[in-house]
């Protein structure tokens, strides 16, 4: 299948969901591992204590791609993540992460043709507040 056909079949629906309870220790540990020193990210007693903005990028679903997605992982590599922050993550939040394929496209580079798959996770808290959108790009190379 080409990129358009794959996108038509596999993009635009939620294929995986996870639920995680966020603990203060996890937020502190993550912030310190990132070298953060601001107390609103490292001190649970701070009145505005919250997760470092890129915290949701650490979550993974139970699967990276929808079932039956035709992929050859030997030819694949990670092409990075991006995050849009909508609201802060707080200690005690029960976060739901919902995965979908946001985009599939082809491009060419020095190494030849590549297929880009954009895996998008949207995160919501227990009040339905949209917290973040994380895009993860997976690239499948075309071997010569």
């Amino acid at each position: 299948m080409n990129a358009l056909e794959l996108k038509s079949k596999f993009a635009g629906y939620v294929f995986d969901e996870i639920s995680v309870t966020v603990k203060a220790e996890s937020l502190v540990g993550y912030a310190k591992a990132c070298g953060e020193t601001q107390p609103r990210f490292t001190d649970p007693s701070h009145p505005d204590f919250q997760a470092l903005p890129n915290y949701p990028t650490r979550f993974h679903g139970t699967r990276g791609l929808p079932e039956d997605f035709p992929i050859d992982m030997v030819r694949c590599f990670d092409a990075g993540k991006s995050i849009q922050i909508h609201a802060p993550v707080r200690a005690g939040d029960v976060i739901e992460g919902r995965s979908e394929i946001a985009d599939i496209y082809e491009k060419t580079g020095r190494s030849g043709k590549m297929l880009f798959i954009v895996h998008r996770m949207n995160f919501y808290n227990q009040r339905g507040v949209h917290l973040a959108t994380v895009d993860w790009r997976l690239v499948q190379r075309e071997f010569d």
């Binding site: 496209y105 082809e106 491009k107 060419t108 580079g109 020095r110 190494s111 030849g112 043709k113 880009f116």
Partner: protein, 214 residues
């Protein structure tokens, strides 16, 4: 007038530079650029409006596209609705002949970029697939090229009498202005740029030392 004819912003899927940050960098480093052209991958960016940045920084900021063909990547200057109806900017296997001819017919100019680069440059495909009519200029100075690639592009330009443009191919802020194009005429908009590219009154350059402030 000196313009970087090949840059990418966050509108490109692999771009990491915001246009405002390009402007700030040019000002802070006193780069000898009068402006730049955003050549976003496989699309024309309808949504962005950079006129306020032009006014704030005194730069000419134009929008164009980098499309993909069976002969490699091509910069298209003067994109308009007529041209976008002629071929699919998002495809990776457009016909170079079609891109060149339809650009010409619709009042635009198509210029093969990084022609010396493997797989996505004109030169390698030219040898295998044969010549294509309609090439008038190529990018002989590309800021992302590896050793030998710009040199090969220059050889082709000299052999076939093609005009030469330069551009940084920047995807991050600090790479803008590595190479550029010097125009003999003052340019105020894309129509002026297309006219200048058609007339051949320009050359690829490596910009010199930063300009003196003030």
């Amino acid at each position: 007038m000196i313009l970087d004819l090949h840059t990418h912003s966050i509108a490109s899927d692999d771009g990491r530079a915001k246009v405002e940050n390009y402007c700030q960098w040019i000002a802070r480093k006193s780069l000898p650029l009068d402006g730049f052209v955003l050549t976003e991958h496989r699309q024309f960016d309808d949504d962005s409006d950079y006129r306020s940045l032009e006014d704030e920084f005194g730069l000419l900021i134009l929008k164009a596209s980098e499309v993909e063909t069976e002969y490699g990547h091509v910069l298209v200057f003067g994109v308009n609705d007529d041209l976008r109806a002629r071929f699919d900017f998002s495809k990776i296997d457009n016909s170079l002949a079609t891109v060149l001819e339809e650009s010409r017919r619709c009042g635009a100019v198509a210029v093969p970029c990084h022609p010396g680069r493997p797989k996505v440059g004109l030169c390698a495909h030219w040898e295998v697939r044969g010549p294509v009519e309609g090439v008038v200029a190529i990018e002989t100075l590309n800021g992302g090229s590896r050793e030998g690639e710009n040199e090969q592009a220059l050889q082709y330009a000299e052999k076939y009498g093609w005009n030469r443009i330069g551009g940084s191919d920047s995807h991050i802020v600090s790479h803008i202005g590595r190479y550029a194009t010097r125009f003999e005429d003052e340019l105020a908009n894309m129509e002026d740029l297309v006219a200048a590219l058609t007339r051949g009154r320009f050359d690829a350059i490596q910009p010199e030392s930063p300009r003196s402030p003030g």
